[in-house]
Symmetry: C2
Subunit: 453 residues, 2 copies
């Protein structure tokens, strides 16, 4: 028979068991953290009717989409979790209580050009709060708290949640008579981090048609120095000239004011007027989160306030605020930077039970059953191999503990518990072995997935 | 703007929040139970190269598959989790330790005709143990223990794991001179449960060409009465006439022998010679699991031993044993039968904090932050609505506890904790409220997802 070469498509992440265990922990932490803030889990199909998914249409998205027919149906794979949320909320509106807070962690698909660190299939982890008709600014103030708690639960300490308000920027541009070029200007200044002031200033002049002086004035405004309070004071000087600006200032002040009550420390939060976010979709507070020691990675958690989630599906006004973590890319980057903790348990189980002879199998199985009842994750090695091969298996798979069960142990109702880290071996009852394992592994069970250097 | 009608494709499950929470619990229980037996989590792409996925080719599968091109690539969505496992093991063979034990819970796709209770996108939850060259029979004996523990953890009591061995059947057919018709006979007797003895007997005669007497003899053999031990004794009478039969008998005896050591009670396990499983893929022990009070549902967890997992990708011999739960269908059936527990928490959070006036917001946020630090899942209701509307939101979303925070409470640093079930309301410190909530909800946090009547 001719063999087919097994392969995984490029741009599709497929992890080995040890890495997969870390990914599971990362996603488990996200689920727990989101749930702690009252977000309910949601799951929607990966495949949707193409006309539903592409209701907004146009742009980069449509080119990248996986679209195909099956029978008479024109289908597409979701490219984000926002459009499925919009569909969900419009479709099930009558059965939902608003504000509707959901999290969703799921795979999305974009046929991007394959390159290192870019994925065509990747997990996104989103939270959104959707209001019915209106949504209080306090929801925007809560989002940094969710980001802060989530990143701390992941094990990160050196990160900064950078916050801005679109109304401030749009209002300021209006003061300069640039309201009709707001979109272009936002798109250009969004690249400030990547390309630097000079190139942005050139683009503002050449692409957005700003006078040299105006471009420079805009950039001075955005670069205003100091901490969040200093910036709010600086912005205060512009009040009274534009209503949108004034509203943005009040919103941003509220967000900053409540950070303390939400438990977000000053070092993890700052107002940053250069945060623009490319999408014209956002209308109020916008968020980006950067790892302080790895600025080159860019934002790992972004989002913002939008005015109309489901405008393509319903005439109801459903404003909301949401953020998204690109989980697959984040995991890839953490792995590349060596930031994934080595203290996590990555073996298939906590302990491997090794029966050392045919007569020991029944007692080995009973021991495993007892350990599992005590909550210890156990694998029994049943293969008929030499002792050396058995131990080499335990080693290769990385089991922290091995329980050796020979004729003598079986007769006495005991096990020889070997700590694979220290090499220490002790003869114990199964119950005592279970207690030892549980207490030794308590730290590894709760340690965060990330460990910063 | 013309609106697009929001809709979800038929055959694609999309749950409301309450049901989704139950589904999460169900899948969480599966993950924990599989991990307790030393299965490591795996995740593989939903999209694979079509030639890789269809290496085996032919049959029903190929007609049902979602296949499409993107650029130059001929792609397909996975239709089960076994083929991706075969690819994974062949591709990463050198980095894996064997026996390789993995679980995978993921969506698979089959373009079946849409009908009630049939899904085109559905979750499967699989475990497999894959050996390198050989695999001890004890692995086959362990599988019923995993099924038993998993089903008990889900909350089920009335279920039966029915076990057979293909070698016994094939050996017996050979004794009757039917070895060349084994496949047909197996496929026909697999329908015994659904269509009854008379129709199977007719099919054995008409389709498989068995003499009337032989067909009846086969059916008498399969219907042998008694418990597992009785059946093994009955089968013992056939020993010495066919090597395959004899091996099957030894294997089945081993599986039965160890059930006690694995902690599987007699009432949840039985040898059933009528279990054939349609696929010719299986070569040893085969499993089906039925809910005793709902026989019409059929098997909810099936699988078996196979000799060569990855024969289309590698010349290595990789025997294994595995089972699969069709999670989406199981969930659908449990929901239909009213078997999902009502004791589970399905609200977005454990408690809703309700600030009753603008001056209470800061204290409400601080209270929520403190409760979250104590592990209580909390949502703050920030919207500016009437008290009645706020309480009606709490009611609609099903929060078990509400913390009312008015000017008086804020000034005193207290909260009014309302138990929404009993209606009882008490004024407490935030720390005391957290303790009350945690202790009241301890049961709901751990209760199984299924509650049998």
């Amino acid at each position: 028979m001719a063999l087919i070469t097994p392969r995984t498509l490029s741009g599709f992440m497929e992890l080995l068991p040890e890495a997969q265990k870390k990914m599971q922990r990362l996603m488990g932490t996200l689920r727990e953290s989101y749930a702690l803030y009252g977000f309910t889990p949601l799951d929607t199909p990966v495949i949707e009717a193409a006309d539903v998914l592409l209701a907004k249409g146009g742009g980069e998205t449509e080119k990248q989409i996986y679209r195909f027919t099956k029978g008479d149906s024109d289908l597409a794979l979701r490219f984000d979790l926002t459009v499925p949320l919009a569909k969900y909320v419009a479709l099930h509106y009558n059965q939902l209580a608003f504000p509707f807070r959901r999290y969703q962690i799921g795979k999305v698909y974009r046929g991007e050009r394959a390159q290192r660190g870019r994925f065509r299939e990747f997990y996104q982890a989103d939270i959104d709060i959707v209001g019915d008709g209106k949504l209080d600014i306090m929801n925007e103030a809560e989002i940094p708290a969710v980001i802060f708690h989530t990143f701390r639960a992941l094990g990160l300490r050196h990160f900064c949640i950078r916050v801005n308000n679109r109304k401030l920027l749009n209002g300021y541009f209006a003061m300069l008579g640039l309201e009709d070029r707001s979109g272009d200007v936002l798109r250009i200044i969004d690249k400030l981090d990547k390309v630097g002031r000079d190139r942005v200033e050139a683009s503002l002049r050449e692409e957005a048609g700003l006078a040299g002086e105006t471009a420079s004035q805009v950039l001075d405004f955005l670069a205003c120095p100091g901490d969040s309070q200093d910036k709010l004071r600086f912005l205060e000087g512009f009040l009274g000239r534009n209503d949108t600006f004034d509203q943005g200032w009040r919103e941003l002040s509220t967000v900053v004011e409540y950070m303390g009550a939400f438990g977000v420390p000053r070092e993890n939060f700052q107002v940053d007027l250069t945060i623009a976010r490319g999408l014209d979709y956002y209308t109020g507070t916008v968020y980006e989160t950067t790892l302080t020691n790895y600025p080159e990675i860019g934002s790992v958690c972004s989002g913002g306030r939008y005015d109309n989630l489901a405008e393509y599906y319903t005439s109801r006004n459903l404003p909301g605020v949401g953020i998204s973590i690109g989980v697959t890319r984040l995991f890839y980057v953490l792995q590349e930077q060596g930031l994934l903790s080595r203290d996590l348990l990555t073996a298939p189980a906590d302990a491997l039970v090794l029966p050392m002879g045919a007569g020991c199998t029944a007692f080995a199985v009973e021991t495993a059953t007892a350990l599992r009842q005590a909550g210890v994750r156990v694998q029994v090695y049943f293969e008929d191999r030499k002792v050396k091969q058995k131990l080499s298996y335990a080693d290769k798979a990385g089991f922290p503990f091995v329980l050796l069960i020979g004729e003598e142990e079986a007769a006495a109702g005991l096990v020889s518990l070997k700590d694979m880290g220290s090499g220490v071996q002790e003869r114990l009852s199964p119950a005592e072995a279970a207690r030892r394992i549980q207490s030794a592994l308590a730290g590894a069970r709760t340690c965060p997935v990330i460990r910063e250097g």
